[in-house]
C-alpha cells in the first residue's frame, strides 16, 4: 500500500468520447488531475457530468479515447486486457451503488471471490476473509446470502470484498445512493475509518454534496466531462 505524498492516480488530459447515434458524447473531456496517496476524494456532479465515467477509467473497466491515466505511474491506457484485469484485482477495489453482490453466494463466499480470482492460496484466504469482514463489522452474518441482509449490510459486504485483496486505492461509485440517510452515514463513517486506519486512497463518486463536505478531504466538481472546481471542503 502506498502512502505519504506519492501520487496514487494521475490523469493527463484524459478523454472518453463515444458515439450515440450521430452525436459525439464527450463523457470525459480532457481532465488532468493528481490524486495523492492516502487522499479521500469526492467526485461531485450532476447526472451525466462524467464523474462515473472518470471513475470507470481509474478502475480500468473502461479505456480512455485519448490522454493518459496513471495508477502508481503505470499508464492504464497502454495496458493489455490482462494487465487491466490485474490492476482491478490488485491495485483497486471497487464498490458500486447497487452493491453488485452475487446473489447465490453467501457473504463469506462473496468476499472470498476476489481472492479466488487473484489465485491466493486457500490456507491464507480464510484469514483474509475474516479480517475483511471484521473490518466492516459483519462477523455474525457470514453464512447469510445477500437477500437475507439489509441494504447497509450488503454495502458493507461489498466494502469487505473490495478490501480483501488489500488494494491501495478504493473506488466507490455512489456507495450511499441506495441507502437511507442513517445507514448512508454509517457507510461514510466506514469509509473514513478505512481511509484513516489503512491509509487507503479513496475516490468516491457522489451527488450528495453535504455528505461529501463532511467526510472527504477534497471535492472535485465535474460538469460536461470537465473539472469545474477542485478544492478542499469549506
Amino acid at each position: 500500500m502506498t502512502t505519504g505524498n506519492s501520487i496514487a492516480i494521475r490523469t493527463d488530459r484524459v478523454s472518453r468520447h463515444y458515439h450515440m447515434g450521430d452525436a459525439l458524447v464527450r463523457a470525459v473531456d480532457g481532465v488532468s488531475l493528481e490524486i495523492r496517496a492516502g487522499e479521500f476524494i469526492a467526485l461531485l456532479g450532476s447526472s451525466g457530468s462524467g464523474k462515473s465515467t472518470l471513475l470507470n477509467l481509474m478502475a480500468g473497466l473502461d479505456r480512455p479515447s485519448s490522454g493518459a491515466i496513471f495508477a502508481h505511474e503505470r499508464n492504464l491506457a497502454d495496458m493489455t486486457p490482462e494487465d487491466l484485469a490485474r490492476h482491478r484485482s490488485h491495485t483497486v477495489g471497487i464498490v458500486f451503488q447497487a452493491f453488485n453482490l452475487l446473489p447465490r453466494m453467501t457473504l463469506e463466499e462473496n468476499v472470498e471471490l476476489p481472492l479466488r480470482l487473484a489465485e491466493v492460496d486457500r490456507e491464507e484466504r480464510t484469514a483474509r476473509v475474516r479480517e475483511a469482514i471484521e473490518r466492516v463489522h459483519l462477523t455474525a452474518r457470514l453464512s447469510h446470502r445477500p437477500s437475507e441482509l439489509s441494504g447497509g449490510e450488503q454495502q458493507r459486504t461489498a466494502f469487505a470484498r473490495a478490501l480483501v485483496n488489500r488494494p491501495s486505492i478504493l473506488l466507490a461509485d455512489e456507495p450511499t445512493g441506495n441507502l437511507d440517510s442513517a445507514t448512508g452515514d454509517q457507510i461514510m463513517q466506514l469509509l473514513r475509518e478505512i481511509n484513516q486506519t489503512l491509509g487507503m486512497t479513496i475516490v468516491m463518486v457522489t451527488h450528495e454534496r453535504p455528505r461529501a463536505e463532511r467526510f472527504a478531504h477534497r471535492l472535485i466538481l465535474m460538469g460536461d466531462g470537465k473539472v469545474i472546481s477542485d478544492g478542499v471542503p469549506a
Binding site: 473502461d62 490482462e82 490488485h90 447465490r104 479466488r116
Partner: protein, 443 residues
C-alpha cells in the same frame, strides 16, 4: 483463476440452472448413446466374424509335410538338378523345433487310421482321428451333446452324429456307454541281428473307450485335415496307440525304420497375421509348408468402412446435441451478463471468463459422455438380448452382436468432451469479450 476454483464456480453455475443444464446434458448423453450403440454393433459384428474365422482353424494353422524329392528341383539357376538331398524326416525332433519357433502355440500330427467299432456285437468300419486339446475352442464343438474329453490322454471318444445314428436309434443314449475299437498297431520286430529286424509288423489290437460326447458337424483340423474321422479320440491317446499310418511304408525304406516320422504336422500360430513368418521359418527348416491367406485382413477393411459409416450416423445425434450446448451457454450469457461484469470488476481476466464457460461446457460433455456410454451399453445389451431370443427360437446358439471395448468407451467420452468444448468456443468468446461497463449496467 486456479483449476479447482474454476471447477467449483462452474459446478455452482451448472447447479443454478439445474433443469436446463440437465436437459442439455441428457441431450449429449443421447448423442453419445447413439454413437456408442452404433459403433458397438459394428465392432461386435466384426468381433463375431473374426472370432468365427479364427475358430475355424483355417487361418491360424500351417500344414507341414516332408519335402519330396521333386521339391529339390531348382529351375533357372545353377545346375538343372541340384545334388540329391535326402528329404528331412518330419519326426519328433522336427516337431519340437517347430514348437520352439516364436508365436507357435501348438504343433500336432494329423493322426487318422481305419478302425472297426464293435458295439452290441455288431462291427462298424470307419475312420478314427486324434483331436488336439486346442480343438475344444473350435466352433464345431459348440453345442455338442455330452462333453469334450476330460483330459489330454483319457480313454474317451466323441462320435460324429452320423456314426452315432448308425450305432443306435437313440444317439443321445450312447453317451456314457463303452465302445470297443479294433485297430492296426505297428510293432517293431524282435532284434535278431538280421536286416529283417529293422522292419515292423502290423497286428490287430483292441481298445475300450467310453463315449463322452456327440458332435453335429465334423471338426476341421486345420488346412490339411479336412474330412478327418467320424470317431474322435484325444490326440495323445491316438499317439500312444501307435496305429499303422500311411507313411509307415516310407519309414520302412529309411535307414532306421523304427524311428517314427509323421505324415504331416499342423502348426498353430497365436495370431493369423504371424502365420507368414512362421511358415517361412518352417520352409527354411527344409519342409513343405502351406497355409491359407489370412482372410481377416480384408474382412477388417470391410468392417472399418462399415464402422466409419455407423460412426458418422451415430455422431449426427451428438452434433445436434452440441447445438443444445451452444444454446444453453448463449442463454447463460444473457442471464449472467451482470455477473460476468462483476467478475471482471473484481479482477477476472477475459481468459478467466472464457475458461469458466469452457469448463461448464466440458463438464456437461463429461457427464453426458459417461451417461451416454451407460445408455449406449444398455441399448447394446438390449440388441444382444433381442438377437438371442430370435436365435433361440431357431435353435441356434447364443452370440454377442454388440461389443464395447475400453478404447471405445474412452473415445466416446473424449469425443463427447471435445464436441462440447467446440460448442463452447462461441459462447465462451462472447462472454469473455463482454464490456464490463456495459455488463454492469445490465439489469
Amino acid at each position: 483463476m486456479k483449476g479447482r476454483d474454476l471447477g467449483e464456480l462452474a459446478i455452482r453455475n451448472l447447479r443454478e440452472a439445474l433443469l436446463r443444464n440437465s436437459l442439455t446434458t441428457l441431450g449429449i448423453a443421447v448423442g453419445v448413446a447413439s454413437l456408442v450403440a452404433m459403433v458397438s454393433l459394428g465392432v461386435g459384428l466384426q468381433d463375431l466374424a473374426t472370432d468365427r474365422l479364427a475358430r475355424s482353424g483355417l487361418f491360424d494353422a500351417i500344414f507341414v509335410t516332408p519335402r519330396s524329392a521333386a521339391a529339390n528341383f531348382r529351375g533357372g539357376q545353377g545346375p538343372l538338378f541340384a545334388p540329391p538331398e535326402p528329404p528331412k524326416p518330419l519326426d519328433e525332433d522336427a516337431r519340437q523345433k517347430m514348437l520352439a519357433l516364436p508365436n507357435v502355440v501348438e504343433v500336432y500330427p494329423d493322426i487318422r487310421f481305419p478302425i472297426e467299432i464293435h458295439f452290441n456285437g455288431n462291427p462298424f468300419a470307419t475312420m478314427a482321428a486324434g483331436v488336439a486339446p486346442s480343438a475344444r475352442k473350435d466352433g464345431a464343438f459348440d453345442g455338442m451333446k455330452g462333453s469334450f474329453f476330460s483330459g489330454p490322454g483319457t480313454d474317451e471318444a466323441i462320435l460324429q452324429i452320423d456314426l452315432a445314428r448308425q450305432l443306435s436309434n437313440q444317439p443321445d443314449s450312447l453317451i456314457g456307454q463303452n465302445v470297443v475299437l479294433r485297430y492296426a498297431e505297428r510293432q517293431p520286430l524282435p532284434a535278431d541281428g538280421s536286416s529283417a529286424s529293422d522292419g515292423f509288423s502290423i497286428v490287430p489290437k483292441e481298445k475300450s473307450l467310453r463315449i463322452v460326447g456327440i458332435v453335429e458337424t465334423e471338426p476341421a483340423g486345420g488346412v490339411g485335415s479336412l474330412g478327418r474321422g467320424r470317431l474322435l479320440i484325444p490326440l495323445q491317446l491316438a499317439q500312444t496307440l501307435r496305429t499303422a499310418q500311411a507313411n509307415d511304408l516310407r519309414d520302412l525304406l529309411r535307414d532306421n525304420p523304427n524311428q517314427h516320422s509323421y505324415e504331416s504336422l499342423t502348426v498353430r500360430v497365436n495370431d493369423p497375421p504371424k502365420v507368414k513368418d512362421v511358415e517361412d521359418a518352417i520352409k527354411q527348416m527344409g519342409f513343405t509348408a502351406f497355409s491359407l491367406i489370412d482372410a481377416s485382413k480384408s474382412l477388417s477393411l470391410v468392417f472399418t468402412v462399415f464402422d466409419l459409416f455407423l460412426g458418422i450416423f451415430g455422431s449426427l445425434a451428438l452434433i445436434v446435441a452440441s447445438l443444445g450446448i451452444v444454446n444453453t451457454l448463449v442463454m447463460a450469457i444473457l442471464e449472467r451478463r451482470r455477473e460476468i461484469g462483476i467478475l471482471k470488476a473484481l479482477g477476472a481476466s477475459d481468459r478467466d471468463v472464457r475458461r469458466l464457460f469452457f469448463v461448464e461446457a466440458g463438464a456437461m460433455g463429461l457427464l453426458g459422455g459417461f451417461l451416454g456410454l451407460f445408455i449406449g451399453r444398455l441399448i447394446g445389451l438390449a440388441i444382444n438380448f433381442g438377437t438371442n431370443v430370435y436365435l433361440k427360437g431357431r435353435n441356434l446358439p447364443a452370440i454377442s452382436v454388440t461389443a464395447v471395448h475400453w478404447w471405445m468407451a474412452a473415445l466416446a467420452i473424449l469425443f463427447s468432451i471435445l464436441i462440447s468444448l467446440a460448442a463452447g468456443i462461441y459462447p465462451a468468446s462472447r462472454a469473455a469479450g463482454l464490456d464490463p461497463v456495459e455488463a454492469l449496467r445490465y439489469e
